[in-house]
Subunit: 781 residues, 2 copies
């Protein structure tokens, strides 16, 4: 590919990007520019666009020269014009959107469509072929790219990293992912730092440190950086072509190894002016090479003749008459700068096309006998180990260093990915291996980004994390949900595997880690989002968990959140019962109800394994003390069953809801998270006024006053016990029993003495915990 042609391709891209921002008409500048040719509302971001197009064009070149399988991932925010323009020129866009033809009419439609209602957005949105990340929220380009190349040994992901984005935490740490990449089994990420020096209104840090510092930083991250300083375009093309060739040669050398090792990967720092090729100054204010070029460089071209003149001069500086023929078709030289394998047509960027369903083992082989207590996550670990065995290149587990703690360690039979140094100690259950199937790095952001990149390119995975620290990635998960939501509406985007998040080490067992580790609020940040995307499951036991995960691993385009604890807990359902229960999403538990077939006096409901345990115990106490009380026990696995069916596909009809929860009986609902969430989901239900929800509360008032236990009863900051935590939040068996007795009219004469007895049990439990530091053994039977 001749650099001369590549330069023309880039010039045409810059012209188009400028036109997309400014022009409503006269798109080829066949006549002098007039105010009415300018868009009424100027939107779009010019600053990063020329740099992105430049890297795009040079990626085209190496794709053609070396016959590469390439994925082009755009990090800089609002960089879309710089991506859309070359995508149009290489005729990918027209394949997906037939009106964007390579002629004057198509160009006009493109200009008008950009940043216009119902048109193309100002980021690399899912609507754009070749994109796997929008870049609206910054920081994820490297983790997405690294996720994409895992188990794709032939894939090269060119990751354009913005120097603004590089200041975010998630990006800053994701450079280190190179320590998990096995060059024999995985592909390569070639980061290109687009050092254009400015953000919206500030210089970037990396542009204002010494070159030596900059080089050291990337050496420290484990790369071999090459600095390309671009000012004059022709020289820049030559330097960039050399640098790209150097990088590919380095990569090919790395890929020629047949044994895994930790290579030092090449990376490129491309230093360009911000808004490169825009006017240097307008009204004596700096534009090119300054932050003012970030968005619309100057905005009054419709009303200010001087701005109009400058804009025309700017546009004509690209010599559109030499780039397009009379019909608006790009000249042949430009079309010759397009590789056969086009960036926009990379199958990796439409991962659903490549997606092969997982081979799943039968869950029956891992189910447990509900007669015995079990760690709910342990059988899941064994199941996932077999998933790894059956799908050696198609499934990964991710986590921030908690997989072992979360009792999933059976998966370590297939190792933890690691190509950095190893020591003799690692032989002792270190499980480190270049071929490891679990990736653990103490950055929730990075492992979430890796999983996203992995499934966006057609594979499958799960992230496991402590529930209390899941909120660290709530924003990322929301952004990913937006991507899925939009993607689901795009006919050519094939469904990808769901994002599966396993939240464990849950709030109710963070008694020993303290207050900072207690937060069931992650689900609150997603329940209001896209009903077609979000699912939340609370399996009550190990067998139900197995089925839920089995199901989630087959689903597509969803975010499945599964909340379950890792400690030893009572078990309830055999595998057949668990399947049936989970498929319905909720159910009456006959073994925990008395008179299960009669209209009850009270419904005791639960959602979440630990609240379920307490609720079941409460039933036992109540049956003992109030044999006439008709109790129906309902367990909810699929949280969205509670939602009206008009609002969520998994929601129950009112009729079905009423059949579980009655229309007039008290419902005591023991919930895993913040109690208001249940009200938010059910406030439209007929029996809502009788619904009494217990759950985790930050503002605790309990009816127990023991001065010598004052600090203890606050139960925050320091250390508690599981039973204390339950009592303080009134999700414990005694509180539920009290609540039932107080709310069922026919028990009113019983209430006084029973309540006293229950309170005494609570006091006994609290005093035991206070004195011994552990719960009374009989409470944990």
């Amino acid at each position: 590919m001749e650099l001369k042609n590549l330069h023309l391709y880039w010039k045409a891209s810059c012209y188009i990007a400028t036109g997309m921002i400014y022009l409503w008409d006269n798109v080829l500048l066949k006549e002098p520019l007039k105010p009415e040719h300018i868009k009424r509302r100027l939107l779009g971001h010019w600053g990063a666009s020329p740099g992105i197009s430049f890297i795009y064009a040079h990626t085209n070149r190496i794709i053609e020269k070396y016959d590469l399988d390439c994925l082009f991932v755009v990090g800089p925010g609002h960089g879309a014009p710089g991506y859309i323009a070359p995508l149009y020129l290489d005729q990918t866009l027209v394949k997906y959107y037939p009106h964007f033809t390579l002629d004057e009419e198509g160009l006009k439609k493109l200009f008008r469509s950009f940043s216009f209602p119902a048109g193309l957005g100002s980021h690399c949105t899912p609507e754009l072929p070749g994109s796997i990340q929008e870049g609206g929220e910054l920081g994820y380009v490297l983790s997405h790219s690294y996720g994409a190349v895992l188990d794709n040994p032939k894939l090269l992901a060119v990751a354009v990293v913005g120097d603004g984005e590089a200041e975010t935490g998630p990006l800053a740490t994701s450079w280190h992912v190179n320590k998990f990449i096995n060059p024999v089994r995985d592909g390569v990420v070639l980061p290109v730092l687009l050092l254009n020096g400015y953000k919206i209104n500030n210089p970037t840090i990396l542009a204002r440190i010494d070159e030596e510092e900059l080089i050291n930083l990337f050496k420290g991250y484990g790369y071999e950086p090459k600095l390309v300083i671009a000012e004059e375009p022709i020289q820049a093309h030559e330097s960039m072509a050399q640098a790209m060739d150097w990088a590919v040669e380095r990569i090919l050398d790395i890929k020629s190894h047949t044994e895994p090792f930790r290579p030092i990967y090449p990376m490129i720092i491309l230093k360009t002016p911000k808004g490169w090729t825009a006017p240097r100054k307008v009204n004596d204010r700096y534009i090119e090479g300054y932050w003012r070029a970030h968005q619309v460089p100057f905005s009054d071209a419709r009303n200010n003749p001087e701005h109009l003149r400058i804009l025309e001069e700017w546009l004509r500086s690209y010599e559109p008459e030499k780039l397009f023929d009379q019909n608006g078709r790009p000249i042949d030289e430009i079309l010759r700068a397009v590789p056969k394998k086009k960036i926009g047509e990379s199958p990796y960027a439409n991962g659903g096309m490549l997606r092969v369903p997982l081979k799943l083992p039968k869950i029956e082989a891992f189910c447990i006998d509900p007669a015995n207590k079990a760690e709910n996550t342990r059988p899941l670990g064994m199941f996932l180990r077999e998933v790894m065995r059956l799908n050696p290149n198609n499934f990964r587990l991710f986590g921030p260093d908690e997989t072992h703690s979360n009792r999933l360690y059976d998966v370590f039979e297939f190792g933890k990915a690691w190509v950095a140094k190893t020591l003799v100690e690692d032989e002792d259950e270190g499980h480190l291996s270049p071929f490891g199937r679990t990736i653990e790095m103490l950055s929730e952001h990075t492992v979430e980004g890796l999983l996203e990149g992995y499934i966006l390119t057609g594979r499958h995975g799960i992230l496991n994390t402590y529930e209390g620290f899941a909120p660290i990635i709530s924003s990322m998960v929301n952004q990913f949900g937006k991507w899925l939501d939009i993607s689901s509406d795009i006919p050519w985007r094939m469904p990808v595997s769901s994002l599966n998040l396993l939240l464990t080490s849950v709030v109710w067992r963070q008694d020993h880690n303290g207050f900072t580790h207690q937060d069931p609020g992650f689900i609150n940040s997603v329940v209001d989002k896209w009903p077609n995307v979000v699912r939340v499951y609370f399996p009550p036991d190990a067998n139900t968990l197995l089925f839920i995960v089995w199901q989630c691993l087959q689903s597509t385009n969803r975010i499945n959140i599964i909340v379950v604890d890792k400690q030893k807990h009572p078990q309830y359902l055999n595998i057949e019962e668990a399947k049936e229960h989970a498929m319905k999403g909720l159910g009456v538990w006959k073994f925990a109800s008395n008179f299960p077939d009669e209209e009850p006096d009270v419904v005791i409901a639960s959602c979440g394994d630990i609240p379920t345990k307490e609720a079941v115990k409460a039933v036992k106490i109540l049956i003992e003390h109030c044999p006439d009380l008709r109790i129906r026990f309902v367990n909810v696995v699929n949280l969205f069953c509670l939602t009206p069916n008009q609002e969520h596909p998994d929601g129950l009809t009112d009729k079905d809801f009423d059949s579980y929860f009655t229309v007039d009986k008290p419902v005591i609902f023991n919930f895993h998270g913040y109690p208001w969430l249940i009200h938010r989901l059910t406030y439209r239900r007929k029996n809502h006024n009788n619904l009494h929800v217990r759950g985790y509360r930050e503002n605790r008032k309990i009816g127990i006053d023991l001065t010598h236990l004052t600090n203890f009863l606050k139960g925050r900051g320091g250390i508690t016990t599981p039973m204390q935590l339950a009592i303080l939040n009134q999700i414990d068996r005694f509180s539920i029993a009290i609540d039932v007795v107080q709310r069922v009219p026919k028990l009113s004469n019983k209430a006084g003495s029973f309540v006293d007895e229950m309170k005494n049990m609570q006091i006994k439990a609290l005093e035991y915990a206070y004195n011994h530091g552990v719960d009374m053994p009989e409470l944990d039977e």
Copy 2:
């Protein structure tokens, strides 16, 4: 301070840390260790403890040698034993908790209290003097430390960075804060990377790269790193003392400058074995120098005689009989290793003691005439500029590069902090200055951490950010709220200034930036939290915003969230009205009600500036069309007014609530965020069943079917207009008017034609936007 004594101090610290984890009795090992001396429940984390104590002891040494004002900030998670032990030895702990005396009884109480209910937690919780960060959620030690030294020129913050924590994104980018620190005006952070090599179950990345890479990384971050390799304690003390002296000398040299510049600050990398001084192996499994030392190194000492023997051997290896006298008092040599200025007594760690209330200008000087439209945030920027003028060393504004975009640019009169390179362009409205009062870095995590550190040490500040990206820090804000919640209960912790978060560039005006920028969900992640801490305000206009901020800047120990847009909007209240309205938290707007003094037919309520604008317009339409309709207009500023007063201190009583919202009339509530949030706050109110909330919805179904606008009506992904966004979410004036007419019985005969007219207006508005890319000008009057 003699190293020999320092070594004894450290040995005693290690002994105490081990004892805290294991011992219930026989705390001085006066008799052979027996099973009953061991705690029943072994909790705590040994791994980082010896390293933290080691750095603590060496910090003591430089404090004494150089007479330093020092703050010691502990990053590693669960590092508390390594902090509590020396805190006990230097007699700080006993000052705050008199039972932790320096004798056998006090030691026993300390051991029993640790990780025991109602005792001391396993992190550096607020209960510990000298701590400003708990370290439960990792990643914030450097941003907290840097926040602490801002405007404290004499302060040295020794920041212990865990090598696990160093993998988090927030930590990885916070090294770069050194580019904002002016050595003349600010203090110094001395980072000490505790490179102990392991996390819970994995090696750390930084421990498994070449030394050259490691050094390059920190040089790249702009530090001069010194590597101290600690294996044999005596040698380690000598190397560490030399390194600390070197660092202080470097710092003193930097501090001797009188003109600002960008220094290369020293930092220390302390390489120790994980769980240093624990047994190397137990049961042939590695402990010291391996991840198994992370928590309780071996756990069966109560039942397994071999474990008991090893534990005793381990404890005796510290020679407790030489460290403590018969009464359990540490020997004089140890007490001589305590500096006069004790770490635990640093006033900077109890910032409320240092806090000087802000001098606030009168808001009347910045208020605007409500007759004209205004950018709501612009007058605030002018007000904050004056706050900066009056409080030159006491107030800072923080943001991730959006302060200008958010229309607060008047504050730039006092510059943006910057000590990195400057260029000629910066003269052109760059505002960079070593003395700048605004700090902008494109890391929400870092600026949030800086603000937290700044207010924890007694100062004042505000963070401004786009509403859509506030969720990036929702987890951080929650962790900070926990800190405030606990701190408020600790008598000796003086109140600190509130954390003020200004969320602007709100969802309703992200029409041009698209779907990724639309998220009003941040508040959902905090409303369930500590009612004594969280406040959420939605000022409807510029004057109300001024008063709210004025109030927030005087409040303490709160998280104040203020949501307001930056674009030009109608104004409603003059400054006196605004004050009264904001103080009440909500109010009937007579000018927007007809028959305001009568019982209404309908209540139209609003919360948030843009929904308020639409609701007010709806009233206008309704009055025009239905002159008999009695409308009461209620605007809500303080979101928690809606909550029952039992649940939140700002909550209205039921009686007051009913007086605004009636007990039986339809209430159409136009809300800024997700509509369910209003239901969550009000479901206990009498009139809740008549409450109809409109707000931002992810699942849109509107009663308009225009096939040629199909994509446009989805309104997601790409670009929209403000009015389109409003209509799609049905918060627009027409939708509200329709709703009112349909819900007020006496208008039933009117409904048909009126609804048609409103729908036609919507269609006209949508078609105009679709065709012109902007809203009909008359809709924005």
